[in-house]
Symmetry: C2
């Protein structure tokens, strides 16, 4: 099933930062990793990712360096910053609160 873009809004940044908290990655790799990890539920578009990475960098949440890959291609590798880790922690709390509240409403009526 294709996930409505409305649902994606707001969580994409958190997901990207979470990946970068695990290890340095380049853009294309993030798209593939998200696709794989979510069992193809997510298919983040390049047109969404690259502007997002630029805004995360501008905000100081990630830093980047260009480097040549083994195959000779140029890639732009992103890393999360300390500031980014703090922001990520906040976003994870927010996600937890939000998804919990949605489920509360959906379960609700019963034991309120």
């Amino acid at each position: 099933m294709k996930i409505d873009k409305g649902l994606m809004a707001g969580s994409t940044g958190m997901l990207i930062l979470h990946l970068l908290a695990e290890k340095e990655m380049y853009g294309y790799e993030m798209i593939e990793t998200l696709e794989k990890r979510s069992d193809s539920t997510f298919s983040l578009k390049a047109g969404t990712l690259y502007p997002l990475l630029h805004s995360l960098e501008k905000a100081g949440y990630v830093s980047s360096r260009e480097a040549e890959a083994e195959n000779g291609r140029m890639r732009k590798y992103y890393s999360i910053t300390d500031k980014g880790n703090g922001f990520l922690a906040d976003k994870k709390n927010e996600w937890s609160l939000f998804s919990g509240a949605v489920n509360k409403v959906l379960d609700g009526g019963a034991a309120v």
Copy 2:
């Protein structure tokens, strides 16, 4: 914590339809019920709700009737339609898939 509007996007319609699947409600009542059920996590704005209700009605997911409340005030009561129930079921599946995928990514790295 105030929930980022990006996160809300896409799930508000589902939440409203879920409330209406329980019982007929008027707009203001929906806002209060969501606030209460979510332990004040959600505070849906009137400027979001009323246009949303109109579009849900236009799409045939809800129907409305105007009636005088006990206190003499005019209220617009909304009910979910059969079509709306079908749409709601789809949206709940989508939410389940989406939130599951987000958690998979956040848990990920470990057991992939």
